[in-house]
Amino acid sequence: MAIGVKVMKRPTKQTSYLRATLKGMALTFSHILRPKVTMQYPEEKSSKDWTLSSRWRGTHRMLTDEQGRAKCVACGLCPQICPANCIKLVPGEDEEGHRYPLIYEIDEFRCIFCGYCQEVCPEEAIHVGVHYENSEYSRDRFVYDLERLTAQTHPVSTLWDPSDPKGE
């Protein structure tokens, strides 16, 4: 048993498993009285044993600056890196030469929630969010436009930091 293989003790002839049966019955009965682990979802969304990780990658959110405008400068890096090709960006430029997105849409159905868009964004504008309740009544509601992305309020994901791999 040098490598610690667990060899089960099996009966060599017919046995009734009488003791095992009684022991099992006692065990299942004792479980009736134990505390339950079920989290009653719509009322309870997290418990002391279970919360969403801060690195959870859910539906997107666009952060805004002090004037309430999207931080995005329409550099085009996120549609470039997106492996699912789900970001549609049409850049625009105002009189002062500031670039901004004319159209910024994310198709959440195509998105694979890899979080590359957040990682690549130089302005820390687009983020994946710590959020999972996304139901809608129709499919076209899943293409989030700029207005919707900026209106989201849920917390954003903290990405993995190589210098702090365990998130401490």
Binding site: S16, Y17, K23, F29, I32, K36
Partner: protein, 388 residues
């Protein structure tokens, strides 16, 4: 005659509805107890504590699409659920469920039909239920369904014998097959038949698990190997009928165990419930006692189901033919001798003394059987062997 007809019709109506409601609540109980045993909560959303869940399930089953396999035998396919459903409900008809109820027009015995051949009737009708299962398996024209049906019939034949043999012991002691008389005997002696017939009760209990196709004997369904066995091809209300049949068989088997071995509607340690004038209060209290006893067995059914894994087919047959049947036969021989000795040589009638004397014999036999069954001494299946 009119009184008999009217009271019978009312009793049939009430008993039918009580069983249907009981079965519905039983499905909920099964799911909730299962959940509790797995540290979950179970369905608790529809109504307070999920009490309306069975209503939601039933409604869903009514609205579902009826399907029938293209190559199925249509007549038998439709007939099979009924054939398994009807006997399951019929069997309850002879079980007394409370002390007689006095009414303005006369005393009504609280049993749908107190047949003189009560117990034989139950054995006959309950084994008819397997026809429904076999027919379902055959008519579905599906390999798995057919295998399920075959298994059901083999299992039913094997365990029917052990079950019948274990009840012979009851009949030896009661000297009667009318269930109301069996109950009266136990009340007179102030000793339930479980004391003088412990081993018979254990054999009966195991066989009853097999007869109702419950785990660890649910080979006809065996979702792991046969998908759903005989009801693989059934949908909507036809499927539901198999389910109701299974659960009402459980109710009947539990009620039967309560009647034969635990004094039926007798309230323990009292005599006033079975003596004197019948009153409404007595009827209600004895009904409660009967329900409580039945409930204990129903709970045990569920408890066993969520504890034990399924038998392998050869293990099932070995247990039925090599253990239970010889055990029941030897037991009857010993018990018949003991009863003959006590009745004829000592001249006792059935009473507390005889019950406890036989109880002593049972205890000895029980120890012997437990010792014999315990030869292998496996406490759990996953004990690591000590390194050699």
């Amino acid at each position: 005659m009119t009184f008999f007809l009217v009271s019978s019709i009312i009793k049939v109506f009430i008993v039918f509805n009580l069983i249907m409601v009981g079965v519905a609540l039983l499905t909920l109980l099964e799911r909730r107890v299962c959940a509790w045993m797995q540290d979950r909560l179970g369905p608790n959303r529809v109504g307070p504590q999920g009490i309306l869940q069975p209503a939601a399930d039933g409604l869903k089953n009514f609205l579902k699409e009826e399907t029938a396999p293209a190559m199925a035998d249509k007549t038998l396919f439709v007939l099979a659920p009924m054939v398994s459903f009807v006997p399951a409900l019929l069997t309850f008809g002879v079980i007394p469920f409370a002390s007689p109820l006095p009414t303005k027009w006369g005393v009504v015995p609280m049993v749908v039909a107190d047949l003189p051949v009560g117990f034989l009737y139950i054995l006959a009708i309950s084994s008819l239920g397997v026809y429904g299962i076999v027919l379902a398996g055959w008519s579905s024209n599906n390999k798995y369904a057919l295998l399920g049906g075959l298994r059901a019939s083999a299992q039913m034949i094997s365990y029917e014998i052990a079950m019948g043999m274990s009840t012979v012991a009851v009949l030896l002691l009661a000297g009667n097959v009318t269930l109301s008389q069996v109950i009266a005997q136990q009340q007179l002696a102030h000793a339930w038949f479980v004391v003088p017939l412990t081993l018979a009760f254990i054999i009966f209990f195991i066989s009853a698990l097999a007869e109702t196709n419950r785990l660890p004997f649910d080979l006809p369904e065996a979702e792991g190997e046969l998908i759903a066995g005989y009801h693989t091809e059934y949908s909507s209300m036809k499927f539901s009928m198999f389910y109701i049949a299974e659960y009402s068989n459980m109710v009947t088997a539990s009620a039967l165990m309560a009647t034969l071995f635990f004094g039926g509607w007798d309230i323990p340690f009292t005599t006033w419930d079975s003596t004197g004038e019948p009153t409404v209060l007595k009827t209600l209290l004895t009904l409660a006692a009967f329900s409580a006893k039945t409930f204990v067995f129903l709970f045990t059914y569920i408890w066993v189901r969520w504890t034990l894994p399924r038998f392998r087919y050869d293990q099932l047959m070995a247990l039925g033919w090599k253990v239970l049947l010889p055990l029941a036969l030897i037991y009857i021989t010993i018990l018949a001798t003991a009863i003959w000795f006590i009745r004829v040589r000592l001249g006792w009638d059935y009473g507390a003394g005889m019950a406890w004397a036989l109880g002593g014999i049972n205890l000895v036999l029980l120890i012997v059987v437990a010792w014999w069954l315990d030869r292998g001494r496996i406490v759990s299946g996953s004990v690591p062997q000590e390194a050699a």
